[in-house]
């Protein structure tokens, strides 16, 4: 049977998110979006641009700057059967709502013995933008992935942003959907299909290779792709594994890649110490020990509050040279 041809459009990661938000708002009256400055102001990162005028204040809700309060309201509304999408202006601000997310949303289904569900999405940019300093630059996906009851995804491409956000909105569990300021302008092909979803828990091989697996998610996948390009010039064939989904985590694909390459570098923008990359690295070590020709290496963000000065900020975030240096460590 021939595959059905689906038309695609070239668009930015930002527009892919905006597109799926609009489509889900139109598809389901229970879906609404709430957050700071998302309506009349059109969204700080312009993800919700035009939506307030199109869908009105019932569906696109400007909130006061009270993250714990409005996240809790979204959780309560989800318990009562609605499907809220909460925008965090930056994921850093979700720290104010941490009690609501970890202590409430993540535990509802379990503590009620399955009586209640919490179909909630919390989305927004996590990680460095440009000189936003220490309080606006956190990568929190590892904190959230640590908590059972939450699903956590971090797409790196426009098509995954499009398909995974739809999956998130239709999911009956609370989902943390982390974007990255550096990804909003990344372009890609997005299918013109209002039912297109990318299931969670499936990593994706974005580039095949034989010498080393570069394992990452979110913007670091783009860094890994660029690093693989450079490594190829040096005669090193790197495979790029885009993790996409932290919880659930697809170790099958990651282990299969390591079985092929026998070496792994795990790249993540979050603080290197105690970050989610450590979880992936330890799992590779536990599950693929016999396949490894070298210890698994982590390449993460520097363990400092992100500084303001541009040169210092850039120093903190793993870049192509850092990834290549990590690969070279493997010998």
């Amino acid at each position: 049977m021939a595959a059905v041809e689906v038309a695609t459009q070239t668009m930015s990661y930002r527009d892919a998110i905006s597109k799926v938000l609009s489509e889900e708002i139109e598809a389901n009256p229970d879906v609404f979006i709430m957050g700071e400055d998302i309506g009349r102001y059109q969204g700080t990162f312009r993800v919700t641009q035009g939506m307030f005028d199109k869908y009105g204040e019932k569906r696109i809700i400007d909130t006061p700057i009270t993250e714990a309060g409005f996240t809790g309201i979204a959780i309560g509304a989800a318990m009562a059967g609605l499907r809220p999408v909460v925008e965090m202006m930056t994921m850093s601000f979700s720290i104010l709502a941490m009690d609501q997310i970890i202590n409430h949303a993540a535990k509802i289904h379990y503590m009620t013995g399955g009586q209640a569900k919490c179909p909630l999405v919390i989305r927004g940019p996590g990680g460095a933008a440009k000189q936003l300093s220490a309080q606006h630059t956190h990568c929190l996906e590892g904190w959230y992935a640590h908590a059972p009851g939450l699903k956590v995804v971090a797409p790196a491409t426009a098509i995954d942003a499009y398909g995974m956000l739809r999956q998130a909105i239709r999911d009956d569990n609370p989902v943390i959907f982390t974007e990255n300021p550096g990804l909003y302008t990344v372009m890609g092909e997005v299918p013109d299909d209002r039912e297109f979803v990318v299931p969670f828990g499936k990593a994706n091989i974005l580039r095949e290779g034989t010498d080393v697996s570069l394992v990452g998610y979110s913007r670091m996948t783009q860094i890994n792709l660029a690093a693989a390009e450079k490594l190829a010039e040096q005669g090193v064939s790197a495979e790029v594994v885009d993790v996409r989904s932290l919880s659930p985590l697809d170790m099958t694909t990651i282990n299969a890649s390591v079985a092929k390459t026998h070496r792994a570098v795990v790249v993540y923008e979050d603080w290197k110490f105690g970050g989610f990359g450590g979880e992936i690295a330890s799992r590779i070590a536990e599950e693929s020990f016999d396949d490894l020709d070298a210890p698994v290496v982590r390449c993460g963000g520097l363990n400092v509050p992100t500084p303001y000065a541009r040169n210092l900020e850039l120093e903190c975030i793993p870049d192509v040279d850092d990834v290549i240096a990590a690969v070279q460590k493997l010998g």
Binding site: P64, T66, T112, G113
Partner: protein, 337 residues
């Protein structure tokens, strides 16, 4: 009209129902305390002894199972009143497989979502935005439900309370914040935890209708709550109510040092306001019930609670294989140590 309604509310049948419900809650909670001391109940457990008029008065003012209700961890009486199988409530408190959450919640986390009872939360004040969300949902769907959001005087200081009050007023959410002011935030007396002890005033800056009412006289309290619930349903706006009551026992079953924060004399004086004893006086005075009848009801309810306990105690502990159930709706979490 108003007078006819009043008489209807205070019919002998209704008075007897109030009495039975308050006494049932007390006997149930006393049994919980006994079971706790026997080691049959673990963790933290907070009983409602002394505050029964509040739960019963609210229950009769709302449309039970239609309206939404959410509370903190003093959460045994609400589902019992809503008609949840008391064996399932007791089994949950005892961590058994027949519990409402199959033993995953415990005393602080009792839920009956089908009956509109959304628990059952352990972080002081943390559930209050969730209450706002319940009211948000009913408003969003153009229903005429009200949400009863119970909170303690201690919780009234949490930041999310003020955040929720602001949004409730801003968005006209049909929520009634019911502060069960039992005068103590765990072991800290009201005047040591609140800058202004007249908590009812806190609604006023938000333009929320606010008042303080007595929660120990079930008849007057029920009438007050009926008026407040009706207003909220009709106007679809929030209400902030400070309900004055008193808990006769410790904050929780683990609180054995009440003398650290209140005197025996004070407790004795409070006991004179015992809502059950007060109702008994009214029942006698109005010739609704004799002492003998009251004693017979007490015996009946005590036996009933005993039977509930026995049935709950016969329920097995949850199977170890269930530990991963309900973390997610559609998948299992990472497994193993």
């Amino acid at each position: 009209m108003a007078k006819a309604k009043l008489e209807e509310i205070e019919s002998p049948a209704m008075l007897e129902e109030f009495y039975r419900q308050m006494l049932f809650i007390r006997r149930f909670e006393e049994k919980c305390n006994v079971a706790y001391r026997l080691g049959k109940i673990g963790g933290y457990m907070h009983t409602y002894v002394g505050m029964e008029a509040t739960a019963v008065g609210i229950h009769h003012a709302i449309k039970p199972t239609y309206d939404y209700m959410i509370t903190a961890y003093r959460d045994h009486p609400q589902p019992l009143l809503l008609g949840t199988d008391p064996v399932k409530v007791m089994a949950e408190i005892m961590g058994r497989s027949d519990g409402m959450s199959r033993g995953k919640g415990g005393s602080m986390h009792v839920y009956d979502i089908e009956r509109g009872f959304f628990g059952g939360w352990g972080i002081v004040g943390g559930h209050i935005p969730l209450g706002g969300g319940l009211a948000f949902a009913s408003k969003y769907r153009n229903e005429d439900r009200v949400t009863i959001c119970l909170l303690g005087d201690g919780a009234a200081n949490q930041g999310v309370v003020f955040e929720t009050m602001n949004m409730a007023a801003l968005w006209d959410l049909p929520i009634i914040f019911c502060i069960e002011n039992n005068e103590f935030a765990m072991g800290t007396r009201l005047e040591y935890h609140a800058a202004d002890t007249e908590l009812y005033k806190r609604g006023e800056p938000f333009g929320i209708k606010s008042e303080r009412i007595d929660g120990m006289d079930v008849l007057s309290f029920h009438k007050d709550m009926q008026r407040i619930v009706d207003w909220t349903r009709e106007n679809q706006k929030p209400y902030w109510v400070e309900i004055m009551n008193y808990r006769f026992l410790g904050h929780g079953a683990a609180d054995n040092d009440r003398q650290l924060y209140r005197t025996k004399e004070e407790e004795d004086a409070a006991m004179k306001r015992d809502p059950i004893a007060r109702l008994e006086e009214i029942l006698l005075k109005r010739n609704v019930m004799t002492r003998e009848k009251m004693e017979a009801i007490d015996e009946e309810l005590t036996d009933q609670v005993e039977a509930i306990y026995e049935q709950a105690d016969a329920s097995p502990f949850p199977d170890a294989s269930e530990v991963y159930d309900n973390v997610y709706t559609d998948m299992e979490p990472e497994k193993g140590h």
